[in-house]
Amino acid sequence: MSKPDSSNDNTSVVPTNHKPKPDKGPLALLIATRKGAFILRGGKNRGKWKLSEPIFLGQMVHHMVQDPRDPQTILMGCRTGHLGPTIFRSNDFGKTWTEAQTPPAFPKAPEGEQGRVVDHVFWLTPGHATESGVWWAGSSPQGLFRSEDGGSTWEGVSGFNDHPMRDAWVGGLGDGTPDGPKMHSILIDPRDPNHMYIGMSGGGVFESTDRGADWKPLNKGCVADFLPIPDPEYGHDPHCVRLHPLMPDRLYQQNHCGIYRLERDEGVWSRIGDNMPRKVGDIGFPMVLHPRDPDTVWVFPMDGTTVWPRTSPDGKPAAYVTHDAGQTWKRLDKGLPRKHAWLTVQRQAMTADSHEPVGIYFGTTNGDVWGSTNEGKKWDCLTRHLPHVYAVEVAEHLK
């Protein structure tokens, strides 16, 4: 497999004058946990970190995301063990919160038919940079929702939710994660707000070129070894899909069955995880891209052997990075526990800032948050003893 040249492909690379400059200001980590949300603020030079008091303590917060078009705004998707799903919005970076007037919900089914029910809002994506107030949400079970008023009222995207193939694409309720089937990785092409991708566990990767009115599977070349069909069109299990804003015709995914890269002009996923050390394997959940280098990607491998422990292989946690789009990988474990550390990092729980050098952060299901301010060369534990971490996102350009 050859490495595509990311410097000369003028058809797919956003002009270099769009290349973002590294941020130098203060940043924060938005930490969503099984029992509330937290904001971890970085001090000068990303040094001293200060943890907020719990936000909505006890609520299951699946995702908390800053609006890059309005950096003081945060949305979070949450529910409780008893209460149904909703979305909260803060316009003052977490000081006060307002609940959505109409949270994501499927339409009421006709009398005598069984309708779908949103169990939780799993994923939030701010809309295109030119579309102030637009947000997208992915639910469990798989549903796509859009808000055009900053997250106050939500409507189902009928082009997906009512698509005649939707049920076939997603399979049954058992065809998902242990925590329920999910729609995630809602990606908007920075060149065109009508061009989108979604990932579904289960279901696979899908593409829309008309703002969600219709969808097509995009899984060619990707293995689904849990299905009896050798090369299925859909039914795959992408854990995390990423699109590089500087090279939007390149996608990466950490899949249930390995690490992949797709060049759109080729149209076939290539298993770049085959280049990972065989003893470690290429199973995992999150995947993180370098904000300014489409060839640099971090993953955090999990044990996907036997009964799928989903813990760090051999009890020795490490991130791996590639700087050549997946041809070679390097282990990054300095500062992490050397052994007896059975960490799990979920698909939304690893992220990067846009500083120079890039900061990489991840949260674990046992409630620790780790960070590296030198692109993974050395890790420090930033805070511990939180509840089970579901998601970690970076917030920048803060006041």
Binding site: G84, T86, E99, P103, A105, F106, R116, V117, V118
Partner: protein
Amino acid sequence: MKVYVPSALRSYTGQRDEVEASGASLDELLRELDQRYPGFRFRIIDEQGSIRPHIKIFVNHDQVRDLTGRLRAEDEVSILLALSGG
């Protein structure tokens, strides 16, 4: 009529554990409460009109699973959190 509000829903009712509401049915009563306390209903009733799995609603001493049953002015409605662990 009197409605008992569990702790998880008191952020909607200004921390009141008991509120007055009216309605010819539980459905009407919950819609009225939702008018006064926006968001209240959807946290306990899903989009298909079913009581959520870990919520129980009693009218007097009887558990109710259907929102359409008639209510009388002297009834007492209790919204309860079902047992759960973890």
